[in-house]
């Protein structure tokens, strides 16, 4: 089974963080460039918003990967559920041990940028603490959060005045989505499948997932998993095609996009 041409294709769409294999699309490259352009400016808070699964976390990982030679940026990708835990996490990341970030801020040379992913999960208390830290001008925050919660935080006036930029991520269009699938397949050496995978097939998947990258990855993983299975068990079903469109429908049924 490991010799299957679908094995690599399946691996390409496993939901895992791989900043080195980040797929550059027109829509996300612009946002990445914007982050690079504002990182050295004296901002307090930058918001990155977008619907779940749109690629915010991937974008932040890539951003961090591209800044790997500097130590002025740290990131919290796992949320903290209490203020103490939050303080502990950021102090450990910045100072290497647990201290109060407010007391230890004088030890910082210049400023520290803290990337906070899934900020919508943080309590008001922690968000207030973030605001206070941002006011010291020793800490700068890049908060990534879901689109609906963005409005809630924006509504808080004292928070609003501290937000320098808001970067909103949108799903790729159909053309970009096809490029995304192709690039992913090529990056995992699934060349044969990439060549057989037509824009029509990409569009069909896009119609189900609306370009949501997490859902699309799940869909494509399921598709290649099914193909992998039938290649072994009933190869005649594949009808000498690398990707038959009926398997796209089967994936849609399996994931609940089609009620069959």
């Amino acid at each position: 089974m490991s010799d299957s041409i679908y094995k690599n294709a399946k691996d390409a769409f496993i939901d895992k963080v791989e900043p080195e294999r980040f797929v550059r699309l027109d829509s996300n490259v612009v946002k990445l460039e914007k982050l690079h352009s504002i990182i050295d400016t004296p901002f307090k808070i930058v918001l990155i918003s977008g619907e779940p699964g749109i690629g915010k976390t991937m974008l932040l990982h890539r951003f961090l990967y591209e800044l790997s030679d500097t130590n002025s940026v740290v990131a919290l990708f796992q949320p903290a559920f209490s203020l103490e835990e939050f303080k502990k996490k950021i102090s450990t990341k910045i100072f290497g041990h647990h201290v109060d970030p407010m007391e230890a801020m004088n030890r910082i040379d210049g400023t520290k940028t803290i990337i906070v992913d899934e900020a919508q999960l943080y309590s008001i208390e922690i968000l207030e603490y973030i605001r206070i830290l941002a006011d010291t001008q020793k800490y700068k925050f890049i908060l990534s959060l879901h689109q609906n919660t963005n409005e809630e935080i924006m509504a808080k006036k004292h928070f609003q005045t501290r937000i320098a930029h808001t970067i909103e991520l949108k799903p790729p269009n159909q053309k970009e989505f096809h490029i995304y699938v192709q690039k992913k397949l090529f990056s995992y050496n699934a060349i044969e499948i990439a060549q057989a995978f037509t824009p029509k097939m990409s569009n069909k998947i896009y119609n189900f997932t609306h370009g949501n990258l997490r859902n699309s990855n799940k869909f494509l993983y399921t598709l290649f998993d099914i193909l992998h299975y039938f290649e072994e068990k009933s190869p005649t079903l594949l009808k000498n095609k690398i990707v038959d469109e009926k398997f796209i429908e089967m994936s849609a049924i399996h994931l609940g996009y089609i009620n069959a």
């Binding site: 099914i226 299975y229 039938f230 009926k246 429908e249 089967m250 049924i253 069959a260």
Partner: protein, 213 residues
């Protein structure tokens, strides 16, 4: 059974339903299209056959009148033919002729020639009656705007050959020219129902729309 095998069975059922739905949709679409075409055709037909004229509620009544018209001349014709054998045929036919309008009298030479021609034609007709001779006479009268006579001779032609289209149309035109539009349309409707003649249908429309004057 592996979950993907079950999935394949589900997909087959889904595919079957999808094809069935597509066929049903196409079938309904075809029926709708055919229905619309039929309705359109029926509506067009209805406009021609049932468009009401003022005070024309009963189609049967004018038909009866028309049948009377059809029978009356034939009777006259037979009786007069008998007479014409015994007596001078030209005189007898002068009896059924209407007085020549004054406008025609103003051009005596032409009228005379026409009259001579018509009389000659009548003589030939009574000698050996044919629908074509009756029609020629009817046409002459129609050209001379003597519509009563042209109607009569069109009827004679019709009596001899019921399927002769021109006899029907000329009779209807002659009636319409006399201002009897309702009767003319009824005659044409009878003929249209019998033959489905396109010319009859067009003439009905022309009379209804006032194009035919």
């Amino acid at each position: 059974m592996h979950e993907y095998d079950r999935l394949y069975q589900r997909w087959k059922r889904y595919r079957f339903k999808k094809i069935l739905k597509t066929i049903l949709f196409l079938l309904i679409l075809c029926l709708v299209v055919v229905g619309l075409l039929f309705a359109y055709r029926f509506k067009t037909h209805e406009n021609i056959t049932t468009k009401k004229l003022p005070k024309t509620n009963n189609i049967i009544l004018p038909q009866k009148e028309f049948e009377k018209h059809l029978k009356a001349p034939s009777y006259k014709y037979r009786s007069k033919r008998k007479k014409s054998i015994k007596k001078k045929p030209i005189r007898t036919h002068r009896a059924i002729q209407q007085p020549v309008p004054k406008t025609i009298i103003q051009k005596p030479l032409i009228i005379k020639n026409d009259q001579v021609d018509i009389n000659e034609l009548k003589r030939l007709f009574f000698k050996a009656p044919t629908p074509s001779k009756a029609l020629i006479i009817a046409r002459r009268y129609y050209q001379q705007k003597r519509y009563k006579e042209s109607a009569l001779w069109a009827l004679k032609a019709n009596e001899l050959d019921k399927s002769n289209k021109e006899s029907w149309l000329l009779f209807a035109k002659s009636l319409a020219k006399q201002g009897k539009k309702r009767e003319a349309i009824n005659v044409l409707r009878i003929y249209y129902k019998k033959s489905g003649s396109k010319d009859a249908r067009i003439l009905i429309q022309d009379i209804i729309n006032g194009v035919f004057r």
